[in-house]
Symmetry: C2
Subunit: 331 residues, 2 copies
């Protein structure tokens, strides 16, 4: 029997997430029962939402101390006792942070074998689809409008900016640090970028979006959301995708201007997760493949190596150290 290396969430963080909240463990490789599959984990996706799951129930149940750390992954079917999958098939599944997982096959869908495989976690995965649906369905941008996106150098933000650009919008990215901001403009076609660590968020944002903000794609919440609220145009739209500024903190911050500015500017705020739009996946995938093939969107990935690097990879992601889609190659 092969060993199954795992990373366990040893303690629930009260404030900042630290390496000591995790420990390595060794389990066994299970056998699939009727309707189940045994999966081999290839790449684990790192997402800010991983941290939110430690705070309580979200769109999934809360994590508990002692659980194998949860996380989505690209995985390959090793053995199947289900009709819809066979050995060798690729799936995206919440395998958790381990080398092997046994899961019910019912809610798993076979993925196309697109090379490089990592694209199945970036542009053709949750990141690309989240950007696509959040911007186009929740944000409803029109050509000539100003679109602002926070965590702009992150996995979702880079796609949001590039898709907004190809829809004819003026695109402003908010990111941490001058280097990331320069990169957004030089390499990803953003019209302007604002360094939220620069100490003049409000003023810099005003300079970058002089006509006000029509669509704000919010990955952060907190002070950045507040600054954008005050600069939204009448009938502006806010796609509420995440609140990364709030996950790694004991005392979440409620932005001033809620609901006063929502009323006076008649804003629309819409929260979403990618599966809300599952019935539109085919159209989204077709568009994303067209835009990637033509070079209209560039795919930026940040691939780390080895199961043991997962805790540091998540902690670093929460601190904003990655550019593009972060994942860890497990096998």
């Amino acid at each position: 029997m092969t060993a199954n290396r795992q990373i366990v969430l040893a303690d629930l963080p009260k404030g900042k997430l630290e390496p000591t909240h995790f420990r390595q463990a060794e389990g066994t490789v299970g056998s699939p029962g009727e309707g189940e599959v045994l999966l081999k984990v290839l790449y684990v996706s790192l997402d800010a939402a991983n941290r939110a799951w430690m705070q309580g129930a979200t769109y999934r149940s809360a994590l508990q101390a002692g659980d194998v750390m949860a996380g989505g992954a690209l995985a390959e079917v090793v053995e199947s006792k289900a009709d819809n999958l066979t050995a060798g098939d690729l799936v995206f599944a919440d395998t958790g942070w381990q080398e092997y997982a046994v899961l019910p096959a019912k809610r798993l869908a076979k993925l196309p074998r697109i090379e490089p495989l990592t694209n199945l976690l970036s542009v053709y995965g949750v990141a690309g689809l989240t950007a696509y649906f959040g911007l186009l369905e929740c944000g409803q941008p029109k050509a000539g409008e100003t679109v602002v996106v926070s965590a702009a150098a992150g996995s979702v933000g880079l796609f949001v900016g590039q898709i907004a650009r190809l829809k004819g919008c003026r695109v402003v990215g908010i990111a941490g640090g001058a280097a990331k901001c320069q990169m957004l403009k030089d390499e990803f076609g953003f019209d302007a970028a604002v360094d939220y660590k620069g100490g003049n968020l409000f003023k810099d944002l005003k300079a970058a979006a002089p006509k006000g903000i029509d669509v704000y794609f919010d990955n952060t919440g907190g002070e950045i959301l507040e600054a954008c609220l005050f600069q939204m145009n009448v009938h502006g739209r806010i796609a509420c995708c995440g609140a990364v500024s709030q996950y790694d903190s004991a005392a979440p911050f409620g932005p001033r201007g809620v609901p006063g500015l929502i009323v006076t500017k008649r804003l629309l705020l819409r929260g979403f997760i990618v599966s809300d739009f599952a019935e539109m996946n085919d159209r989204a995938m077709a568009d994303l493949q067209t835009w990637t093939a033509s070079g209209q969107i560039k795919v930026q990935e940040d691939v780390l190596q080895g199961l043991e690097s997962l805790p540091g990879a998540l902690i670093g992601l929460l601190a904003g150290e990655n550019v593009g889609k972060r994942m860890v190659k497990v096998a």
Copy 2:
């Protein structure tokens, strides 16, 4: 030349609005120029938004110290130099707190002469239309869902609750004080009522809406909005109509859970003002007349007498002393 008694906003309030922020004055009755009308003010409408106008620019420019206090009113045309109005016509106009006003006629529309005239400021005025559009267009309630409305005994809230009820929803009103809560249930058909001054807002709301909240019509913002956010169901809708808890205060409060709960519950928040739906006014008026005639909605009005009572009427409204639509009869 007749005198024109006025109430002037003598000072802009920094915190709580007080009678000393106003003073009485006497102006002259103007003469209409080309395209203008001279209006005689009949009833001035009192609205929480009056206080918001003192905080800065909203959907109208901010009030300044020394201005005649702004306010909407039912008024009668005395003299017209415009094609679209003649003497004797009724209009709703931002005349301000005075006996006479000269205004451009271009944006004024003749109202039907419905008796009692006060209904033109309540069910057939901004209050009724705001309830109608906010609930039905922003809230999109479905039969069997739970609808919660704050400031439920106020001008808009009473209509929201009654319209939600006739659409087959479970209706919960939030109001200040046991007497108002009893009245909501006994006289206006609310299924349950929560006294936000009772000290157990969160728990009482949970008991009143045991299946969670599908639609929240927010007139208050602040702690009530926060409590509702935490109890919204997935894919719930919040109609952002006002923020009366925030107007009369120097330090507005941002609700926790924004944007985290908006994301995880995939909520839709939509701010609006009644004029956003102007093109649907005819349908709304027809529905409101049908429901009023059939007794499906009861019209509650709170009419005070005399121009000089206006400052106290507004201060009292902000403290929640009125039930139903508050107005002051000026002539």
